[in-house]
Symmetry: C2
Subunit: 425 residues, 2 copies
């Protein structure tokens, strides 16, 4: 009986796996060099953990199940609630700021579409225990450090940076009552994704007047912090928040990534839990969904039973990123190719035992080496060595001599078998 | 509201994660140098995939759930069914032998005990498309290559090798009817784990007579292939199977891992799907559960709708292995410690911007570097540099000079800031 993979999931054949590993290895390398430590949490948690953060509606968007003890569990759709749970459990012994990263496998019960699957991997960068805009700047720096690492330029991608408090100030100064602003945020978040007409429709449904919509759009379309300042007219704490955004921009320039970043008040983020600077990374063409998104979330630890502690971070999934890297030609063939240091071949009349002895010795010294299970002509084995991407062929001959052939240059050198058994150069 | 992790799962704080990464990195490194390619499959599959391989009883041992389309899905308790599914889907285009490895996260709905959790990681090594005992030998070699890599000696661990066909021959030659042998295997598998009395009880319940039990035990207790030969008296294809075991032993010796391997007819493996050589890895003390287990399974691909293709492999979990590595003192403190190439410090009067410029430049050149968000006295920052395991401190001073301090030797050298900004040595 033949069974398929579940739709919205991916099989990683070796070539797919090499691409995934190339991305994940770069995520890890960049995180570590930016001073972040890796953590991970279980793939399933109590359903309540996700419901407390995101509201009970979240249950419909995740894979939940009941264990034999009748406990309601769910596969994680994101790792931030687990992060908050883990930090809360050791809040008094962890030196701050806590700079942690993770590369969790996540699952969401969605309808698969381009760039959106039911199972994916997501790089998470978080800094907990700092209210300083330096922490926001560092997260964005790390994000850009990765984009640069995989060859994406400021012409390929941009980090678009907005502000939750400034957006709330704009809503309030447009006359939207405080209790209605939370509901307005997901509507504003949709604006860049829908037509003007659709947006006005959504806004009206959400209870915003035409005048309010115009005022908020005027704020969102500001091209400079000066325009933002005059659009808001000193409402609420907008001066402080404008100062924070200016400082953020200066930090990013100082650290050398200013070109990758744009202030953009249309960036809102849909989730309720953000409290400060927010950002999303988009391809310059604008054809794809966001590549990454994040911001400051100062209340989450408290909501999950811990203290009120400043926190910020972002997530970057592997699906949209993978599409962009392929489109931009950044996935070089070398990344997808298999390779070996040595392929060991028996010349006519040489016993298989010698091949196995040589293979065993090479591997034990840390070199990658392989051989054919079938006794075949030397030419056929050489062909297989090439197919496997071997750098060198070791041709074992009767009488304790071997030839080492460089499969790139074609050069061949004789040596004694003892030299090979003593370990690769 | 405070929520805990689900029992039987693990939170990986950075130190735990470094241990896990040390193990997983060694699994990967050893797999690649032995010529295996990495693959992965989704974390959930159709429940049927597992039920076809292991029988409908398996449903009680795994976490299953229904998606919005009413499909019965389950979190994978093992990856072999997914492997067989993936290989079957591309059986005609994959060059054989297929040598693949994976390090899947797996979940089982069990009661947590020492060495047995509800979520764990398992290294899987498989060779598909070869009937040759060379393939079995290579799997065992890879297993030992890893054990050696992490510092375990033949005095610490042994691969105990048995034979499913010889065990079946022993059952039949003891007079157990062919249709009853499958049910007898899980009972024999339990023998090393229970007292003699309990074992006889289980065997009697399973329909074996006292005489049959004695005969099978005589076979299982054989200390040499000569004893096995005389115990079986040429039953069925036992001569061929004895030949295969002898060849396996010779291969392992030739490849240099003979000392790690023992033939042991008490090794049976509980699962029904094995068809040839089987093995388990145990700590020499015998205090722990098996560290790894595997064998030949020539029918699985066919059962899952593919062709009949020879296959063999093993799995090694991270839980028992982790306990053993700690007990044997193989987890050196260096493995668990964090580290940084540079910690950048501002001496009195130096602007923070210079620190950030230096940090940004070092990271952009690929070095790991960090700094303090708080302006603190130099001594306090040096202390933090040490806590973070930094190799060197870069002390930035007013007037474009810096001092680089080696935090191991204490040596300090002055240099120009341009030299640092040009990238680390």
């Amino acid at each position: 009986m033949k069974i398929q993979a579940v739709k919205g999931t991916r099989d990683f054949y070796p070539e797919d796996m090499r691409l995934r590993n190339w991305i994940v290895d770069a995520w890890r390398r960049v995180s570590l060099r930016n001073g972040f430590e890796e953590y991970d949490a279980p793939i399933f948690e109590y359903l309540d953990l996700f419901a407390i953060k995101s509201g009970p509606e979240i249950a419909g968007q995740l894979f939940s199940f009941t264990d034999r003890g009748g406990r309601q569990l769910a596969i994680r759709p994101e790792i931030t609630p687990s992060l908050a749970r883990m930090v809360n459990a050791k809040i008094n012994s962890l030196p701050r700021p806590i700079k942690w990263f993770s590369v969790p496998r996540l699952c969401r019960a969605e309808n698969p579409q381009k760039g959106r699957l039911r199972e994916f991997f997501q790089w998470n960068i978080d800094i907990i225990g700092s209210d300083d805009v330096l922490a926001d700047a560092e997260c964005i720096f790390v994000c850009v450090d990765f984009l640069r690492e995989v060859g994406l330029t400021p012409q390929d991608v941009q980090v678009r940076i907005g502000s939750r408090p400034l957006t709330l100030a704009a809503l309030r100064s447009a006359g939207v009552p405080a209790e209605a602003t939370d509901a307005a945020l997901p509507i504003l978040d949709k604006r860049p994704k829908v037509s003007d007409e659709e947006f006005r429709g959504l806004a009206t449904e959400g209870g915003l007047s035409e005048e309010q919509v115009r005022a908020v759009c005027r704020f969102q379309d500001c091209r400079s912090m000066e325009e933002v300042r005059s659009a808001l007219g000193g409402a609420d704490d907008s001066e402080d928040q404008i100062g924070a955004l200016n400082r953020l921009r200066d930090c990013l320039k100082t650290m050398g990534v200013g070109e990758y970043c744009t202030l953009d008040m249309r960036i809102v983020r849909g989730l309720a839990y953000y409290t400060g600077i927010v950002y999303e990374v988009f391809d310059a063409g604008g054809a794809l969904r966001a590549i990454a998104g994040g911001g400051r979330y100062d209340n989450l630890l408290e909501v999950l039973g811990g203290p009120k502690v400043g926190a910020c971070g972002f997530g970057m999934g592997d699906v949209v990123l993978g599409i962009l890297l392929r489109e931009k030609g950044k996935v070089r063939p070398g990344i997808l190719a298999q390779g070996l240091d040595f392929y060991v071949i028996d010349d006519e009349g040489c016993p298989l035992e010698t091949v196995m002895q040589v293979v065993g010795a090479l591997r034990s010294k840390g070199a990658s080496a392989d051989f054919s299970y079938k006794r075949q002509p030397t030419g056929k084995q050489l062909k297989e060595a090439n197919r496997r991407g071997a750098k060198r062929a070791v041709i074992v001959r009767p009488g304790n001599t071997v030839a080492v052939k460089d499969l790139v240059t074609g050069e061949q050198q004789d040596c004694r078998i003892e030299d090979i058994l003593a370990g690769p150069r």
